[in-house]
């Protein structure tokens, strides 16, 4: 009958399928063992890296064995870190992951928005209310203790706030401008508030921020400088500058954070065309002097933004031949580093203090330098979470 006739054919087909399946499993089994073997051998042969430029951190090294470390689990977790950090082609795997995310429609990675026109945009930080309150109180007390000095404050928003059209469509983002407005309103009675926000928003011609880094460009700093000049008592700010392109291969923090290595930035420095005094830069922590605000060796490293002042130092003293009788003290985060180049013609001395690294008494420094003006120059992102400024101001007593 029918079933009997179909049987031999059907069972032949079943047998064939079974053979195919077994062959598939054999192939897969061998391929998997092969892949594991290749990966293991490459990792064994590969030497260890000490530092990752991409992630800007030291990579875990082979952990030391000790009985205590074994018993409390520390040794195992160190081995885990070591294996991950020293995995072959780590940076390439990170890039692969980035491409996977990007080509499956993702508009953000690592807390960074992949914006339009190849702009990378960092997310505004949520304020740390306690730290913020402490900072405001400290600033107010400091202003009260130095009545004769012209104090000004400028908070710089991050790129999203100024150029929201670059954000991916619908991306939810904190209204940092509201944060800035609220802080400036709080401190308006104690310290002069410079409105950099409006100036940055209105300047639609220039590239105010880097594509790959969370800092502003020298052009952005210049725009803010023009807005700040009146408040700083500069009645005749210089309008014309020579610009020098010092790099066009800058890939900054947001590149590293997001894993997107495609866009790159240009770094420019600006030198006033007229009235530029001579100056020298002194760093007390390393006892070095320099005739330039710029440190070109830093252009060979990953973080090329450090070309400005050589990065962050606790205390930088710039002395000029400007002969204006004014000495400026700037409390800052890294944003001020490329702002200083615009201030040189107007002050005899510019003291730049980074409270994150400064441990001395600011009052003594102010008296011995004869400070006449103070500027608080911070990016809003740093300021809303900073605890170091209040430490420094309060330590002054």
């Amino acid at each position: 009958m029918e079933t009997k006739e179909k049987s031999p054919a059907r069972s032949r087909k079943k047998r064939r399928i079974q053979l195919y399946r077994e062959r598939w499993y054999r192939l897969l089994g061998m391929a998997f063992v092969g892949v594991l073997a290749v990966f293991v051998i490459i990792n064994l042969l590969k030497g260890d890296r000490e530092f990752s430029e991409n992630e800007n951190r030291n990579l875990a090294q082979k952990p030391e064995f000790s009985k205590e470390a074994l018993l409390n689990g520390q040794y195992f977790s160190d081995v885990d870190d070591y294996l991950s950090d020293q995995f072959f082609a780590r940076d390439q795997w990170l890039s692969l992951n980035f491409m996977m995310k990007k080509y499956t429609g993702s508009s953000e990675n690592g807390g960074v928005f992949l914006g339009k026109d190849d702009y990378l945009l960092e997310k505004p930080n949520d304020p740390n209310e306690t730290a913020l309150q402490n900072s405001e109180d400290a600033i107010r007390a400091f202003a009260a203790a130095h009545q004769g000095i012209n104090m000004q404050m400028m908070l710089i928003p991050c790129q999203e706030a100024v150029r929201p059209e670059l954000l991916p469509d619908g991306a939810p983002v904190r209204d940092q401008l509201a944060d800035i407005a609220s802080i400036q309103a709080d401190l308006a009675d104690a310290v002069g508030q410079i409105d950099a926000v409006s100036a940055l928003k209105e300047d639609t011609q220039e590239q105010l921020y880097y594509r790959t880094d969370h800092h502003w460009t020298s052009r952005g700093a210049r725009t803010a400088f023009m807005a700040a000049a009146p408040a700083l008592g500069i009645t005749d700010p210089i309008l014309y500058y020579d610009s020098y392109l010092v790099s066009d291969s800058f890939r900054g923090t947001l590149s590293s954070k997001s894993g997107d290595n495609k866009p790159s930035d240009q770094i420019e420095v600006f030198v006033p065309q007229e009235n530029m005094p001579q100056y020298y830069v002194y760093l007390p922590d390393t006892k070095e002097s320099s005739g330039s605000l710029y440190v070109s060796e830093k252009l060979k490293e990953k973080d090329q933004y450090q070309v400005f002042l050589g990065g962050n130092h606790p205390y930088v003293e710039i002395s000029t031949t400007a002969d204006t009788g004014k000495n400026l003290l700037i409390f800052k985060d890294s944003y001020a580093n490329c702002f200083v180049q615009f201030l040189v013609p107007y002050y005899d001395k510019i003291v730049v203090v980074d409270p994150r690294y400064y441990y001395d008494n600011i009052n003594t420094a102010m008296t011995s330098t004869g400070i006449t003006d103070v500027l608080f120059l911070y990016s809003a992102n740093t300021f809303v979470q900073d605890t170091t400024l209040s430490d420094v101001l309060n330590a002054a007593g």
Binding site: Y358, Y359, T388, D391, V392
Partner: protein
């Protein structure tokens, strides 16, 4: 009967195993519980047991500089550091505001010890010896680091106040 005796010995072994486990766990947990002592009391006890003549209290900036820590992060934080560059007397007392801080403190203290040892290596035999004899006690919700002529006295005060 013999069979019953055999079974009984199995029963005995079974419950002996359980008893051993309970004892081990109890002993372990006693060493790990949090202390209910307030930071002020602990600090008073520890400081009174220490010879403070060569130490000075550190402010937040100094804490950050020497240990890379933000004292505001912790429920209680006190640091006394040497009055001169040639001293090695130091006392650190920290109360954690959450248990994950244990590792941070441990690493910071170890790093500080390393730095200090390196700076005296070769010429500061007394200081090196003092640092080698220093006591680090991190348990539950408190951490103590004491480098002094008589660290045991401080450790004892810490232990009994804990």
């Amino acid at each position: 009967m013999n069979a019953k005796k055999n079974v009984f010995s199995i029963t005995l072994v079974k419950w002996a195993v359980a008893a051993v486990l309970v004892i081990i766990l109890a002993a372990r947990s006693l060493g790990n519980t949090d202390s209910k002592t307030a930071f002020e009391d602990m600090s008073a006890a520890v400081l009174s047991a220490a010879d403070m003549t060569n130490m000075q209290e550190a402010d937040n900036q100094m804490v950050r500089r020497l240990y890379g820590l933000d004292s505001a992060d912790y429920a209680g934080f006190t640091l006394y550091y040497p009055t001169t560059n040639m001293g090695a007397e130091e006392l650190l007392l920290v109360q954690f505001s959450d248990p994950t801080q244990k590792d941070t403190i441990k690493e910071a203290v170890e790093a500080r010890l390393e730095t200090q040892k390196k700076s005296f290596a070769g010429y500061g035999a007394d200081q090196t010896a003092m640092l080698e004899n220093s006591i680090v006690d991190i348990r539950g919700n408190y951490a103590l680091f004491v480098s002094a002529a008589d660290p045991d006295a401080v450790e004892k005060a810490f232990d009994s106040t804990y």
